[in-house]
Symmetry: C2
Subunit: 300 residues, 2 copies
Amino acid sequence: MSITVVGSVALDTVETPSGKNIEGLGGAAVYFSLAAANFCPVHLVGIIGDDFPERHVRLLESKQINTDGLERAPGKTFRWTGRYHDDINERDTLDTQLNVFADFHPKLPQAAREAAFLFLGNIHPSLQREVLEQSRRRFAGVDTMNLWINTTPDDLQDVLKRVDAIFVNDSEARMLSGVHDLRQAADLIRAMGPGIVVIKKGEHGCLLFGQEADQVFAIPALPLESVADPTGAGDSFAGGFMGYLATCESVDFDALKRAVVYGSVLASFTCEAFGPDRLIEVDADQIAQRYAAFKALTSF
Amino acid sequence: MSITVVGSVALDTVETPSGKNIEGLGGAAVYFSLAAANFCPVHLVGIIGDDFPERHVRLLESKQINTDGLERAPGKTFRWTGRYHDDINERDTLDTQLNVFADFHPKLPQAAREAAFLFLGNIHPSLQREVLEQSRRRFAGVDTMNLWINTTPDDLQDVLKRVDAIFVNDSEARMLSGVHDLRQAADLIRAMGPGIVVIKKGEHGCLLFGQEADQVFAIPALPLESVADPTGAGDSFAGGFMGYLATCESVDFDALKRAVVYGSVLASFTCEAFGPDRLIEVDADQIAQRYAAFKALTSF
């Protein structure tokens, strides 16, 4: 099975208590692709400007990430600048320059249309819908954010009706559902369409709600000795989750639980270095070892 | 094995989004005792005023909780008044009346001195030390709070040198260690004395750090459909933890992990009703069922 991901490709400038990374490779679709490509071939659909370093494209292609859907447009690449607090779970966005991303309309090459798994990164829900209309996927996951929940609720609801899984953080789950309790929130979100609700809680781990009412799974985050840069952890989580799922014979609750663990594994690697540096280096043995570490951490 | 617990016995007035409970049975030592008594006999050491309803004493005694160490003093019982926010993890203390608790000096009856397990509830560290001097325990656990960490650090350090386990929440762990990262915090706290560090994170579960450097266990909290009143959840956790441990042949890391789960089980029951109402009713079958629910929640 292969996966298509549509989302941002960016040059990120990030400052954390550990240091600073200027105009490094970033963007949700990049983190997702790098994580998912540990499991299966990925089709990346996004847009870059004419200032995007070619070495980044070559890096992605070296990792079974197909970039035929990576559009090159005149102008500058999307840029994001953020600063993390001493409490690394808090960050401020200092600057966002959409640049070529402002006029992006995703165009899926044939192979990307045919991919069995589709992940809609956090872009305007009307663009997510354009992607859904082009795709012949069997399973679609979606990410969103407070901005779309608040400003384009109808477009978002239309997307939610047509996807299988949603990835949100706890505050997004509360905003989308209108309730504080995460279990009630998950029930309400499932009623909007996606049978599978994944609620990411950062340093506090993750909750998975399956298609059946009693299917709940919780996993803590790995207590890391130090977190260099959590940028992209959520996208790496989704990539690890969807990538593993694409290797499974069927999407049952046991497979979903393991997918959550693989998502957590990839997210934990991402946090260990700036940008996707650690994620780029990770190999199958290290992933297996960290999966075992999650087992040891949580087994009793 | 039996356990001695020393701490507050109170009349609590609590308001939560679900309702209000006026001058109900409360206090850390009460929650601890009720939770621990599901596993082993408990000696409760505390102080009450002459206004303390006798039915509460009879209730405790009906649960294999020995109240020979429950001192009765002229005057009023310790009272605490608090109000929880819509986000039930946040609360304000509206009023604290120490009353007879202000002049409390714990006096352990002979049987309480001999108990193999000792839990020092959250009282002034100099009182905790008085208890340590009276006790012939084999294993001591301690609770503390930001107040003592800030105002009586030397007394607290003296206590920490002499105990086996400490129960703190995440903000207390950070304050006590001076570092934000909980793994580093646990290492620093272990260097102060207690080989076992339990960090309670409320709705986000719990972290356990064992005597060996690589012994880490994490468990999420059970996602409850609704939380009526979390008062006493932390004390119930400690009671379930210590109570289970008192039934184990040896205090190894596997036993400690199961103790964390039993602590979480008892804490989850406490949250389901006002005050200790649910904790009073719980039976061995329900505890076993909920232990299995934690297994299902976390197994992959």
